[in-house]
């Protein structure tokens, strides 16, 4: 098939990607299949080539044009601010970014607040808008450990049900922003594959907005 008639779609590995696959299947597209052990990274079907990539890499693939479309959480978009179109809220992977601390934590505005997070830019903007002086520590995982071990006063992290926080003696002290999966598009690809992209957008929105 002519490459101009093929859409390249970057999907996030993991549960969100699987959910979106199911939605695409419901929308009438031959959706990508996971091969179980996750070693096969490219699948073809119905004029769409699916790539499985690390969730935080989806905007990179799309912005650089390696993928025409992608699905990723709005948390990643807020953090990396890629130059892409954000075509639709897919109402999947719904959660929020929140500030959490050890139960009973009292913020002292007279002191610099030490914040551990993997969302450095989101955290900086949030605390700057509140005029709060912060020392932001970038971590890549197990963020909940930081206040427990005294590495930070608070954390800024994704909260879905709050169970992980509770299990570790933490609690949400402020919500920063709601998060959900978004369909994003490369700006140039959108210009030259408009009909294909609009058709997929309409189809998947029909399913995800039910």
């Amino acid at each position: 098939m002519d490459d101009r008639r093929i859409l390249n779609l970057a999907l996030p590995k993991g549960r969100l990607g699987e959910d979106v696959c199911a939605a695409l299947s419901d929308a009438g597209y031959c959706a990508a299949q996971s091969d179980g052990d996750g070693r096969k990274l490219i699948f073809d079907g119905d004029g769409i080539r699916y790539f499985w990539v690390k969730p935080s890499d989806v905007p990179v693939y799309v912005e650089r044009g390696a993928a025409d479309l992608g699905v990723c959480g709005s948390d990643i978009l807020l953090e990396s601010e890629p130059d892409v179109y954000e075509l639709a809220d897919l109402h999947r992977g719904v959660c929020r970014i929140a500030v959490a601390a050890k139960k009973g934590f009292r913020d002292d505005p007279g002191k610099t607040l030490c914040v551990a997070t993997k969302f450095k830019n989101v955290a900086r903007k949030y605390f700057d808008s509140a005029g709060r002086q912060t020392d932001i520590i970038k971590l890549n995982g197990s963020i909940e450990l930081a206040p427990i071990l005294g590495l930070s006063d608070v954390i800024v992290d994704i909260v879905e049900t709050g169970a992980t926080l509770r299990d570790n003696g933490l609690e949400v002290i402020a919500d920063v922003v709601p998060v959900s999966a978004r369909l994003i598009a490369n700006k140039s690809a959108y210009k030259f594959k408009t009909d294909l992209i609009k058709a997929l957008q309409a189809a998947i929105q029909t399913v995800t907005e039910r």
Partner: protein, 326 residues
């Protein structure tokens, strides 16, 4: 790169745009006051022998505007290197473009659009020039009673309808903003749709004057998500794409607000072509008319004679050594 940049400069000069040449550096103060106009904040600075802080030129337009005189219409084109921070590293970026200084009328704006479109066509036949007007977006934001105009513009630029609607406090917003984002790209159809969203003469006047300019140039498309910084741009804005290049290769518009910020009393319009983004599209792969093969025992004068004949006949030629085992 020379192939495209030379052709673009020639195109602009054939339309009366004089070549603007600049030194590679200028006083840092000029750029520090207008940082938001620059695509990236990073500049390469150094101290001149007289103690002044200088910067390697990160932009061309600011220099041209600074040198312009009120009430004097001038048309300049350029093909220059600028120096910026790209992905955290100092980078030399080659740009070609033009500036029309001095309250461009509709004909002048259409001419700028035409040259932008022809610039894209010079790069690739598969190209798109999308245009919009910030006055339309500003009027829509006012009608929708937008809470944060800057963020609204950003979300429109992302085609993020739900995000844009979250900032609207007026109930009419869904039809208005949804209509603008869903408007057809074909200018005549888009114009009809925008008139259908009218709330009075002011809206109609803005829409009418914008499409009068756009309709004069075949090949332009309407897209409200074309949004350059409203602090600097004041009316018509454009972005150009060519197939196979993932980001816009051309950007520009009417920048009356920049002129005001720089103390000028008139408006201006122009665009830049980002030659560094073109990669392989800027120059076709070399395909010689003739290939001269030679072995290690061949007489150099015979080989050079073949090359010379090819060049004197006006063709292209490439000499290729033949390995013993070939």
């Amino acid at each position: 790169m020379d192939n495209v940049s030379g052709a673009l400069t020639s195109l602009y000069r054939r339309c009366g745009y004089g070549r603007f040449r600049m030194s590679k550096f200028e006083e840092y103060g000029l750029y520090s006051e207008h940082r938001a106009f620059l695509p990236s904040a990073g500049m390469i600075t150094f101290t001149d022998t007289d103690g002044r802080l200088m910067a390697l030129k990160p932009d061309v337009t600011l220099s041209i505007v600074r040198g312009s005189r009120d009430g004097v219409r001038s048309k300049y084109c350029y093909n220059e290197s600028v120096f910026r921070t790209v992905n955290g590293r100092f980078t030399e970026v080659e740009q070609a473009g033009l500036e029309y200084i001095g309250d461009p009328d509709p004909v002048c704006l259409s001419e700028v659009l035409l040259l932008a479109y022809l610039s894209l066509r010079r790069i690739s036949n598969t190209c798109v020039l999308d245009v919009s007007d910030l006055r339309i977006l500003t009027a829509a934001a006012k009608r929708a009673d937008v809470s944060d105009f800057g963020l609204f513009v950003k979300r429109i630029g992302q085609k993020n309808l739900s995000g844009a609607l979250q900032l609207c406090r007026n109930g009419c917003a869904e039809k208005l903003v949804g209509g603008l984002l869903g408007a057809p790209s074909e200018p005549a159809e888009a114009e009809k749709l925008l008139y259908s969203l009218s709330d009075g003469e002011e809206w109609d006047g803005t829409v009418g004057s914008f499409f009068r300019v756009v309709r004069a140039v075949d090949g332009c498309r309407f897209d409200i998500s074309v949004v350059n910084d409203p602090d600097y741009y004041s009316g018509l804005v454009m972005q150009g794409y060519v197939e196979g290049v993932p980001a816009a290769v051309l950007s520009g518009g009417e920048y009356g607000n920049l002129m005001k910020k720089m103390g000028k009393n008139n408006s201006a319009a122009g665009f830049a072509v980002y030659l560094d983004r073109l990669g392989g599209k800027s120059e076709p792969a070399f395909e010689p008319d003739r290939t001269v093969f030679y072995g290690k025992d061949d007489d150099p004068s015979a080989v050079i004679g073949s090359i010379r004949r090819a060049l004197e006949e006006g063709g292209s030629v490439m000499s290729v050594p033949v390995k013993e085992d070939d």
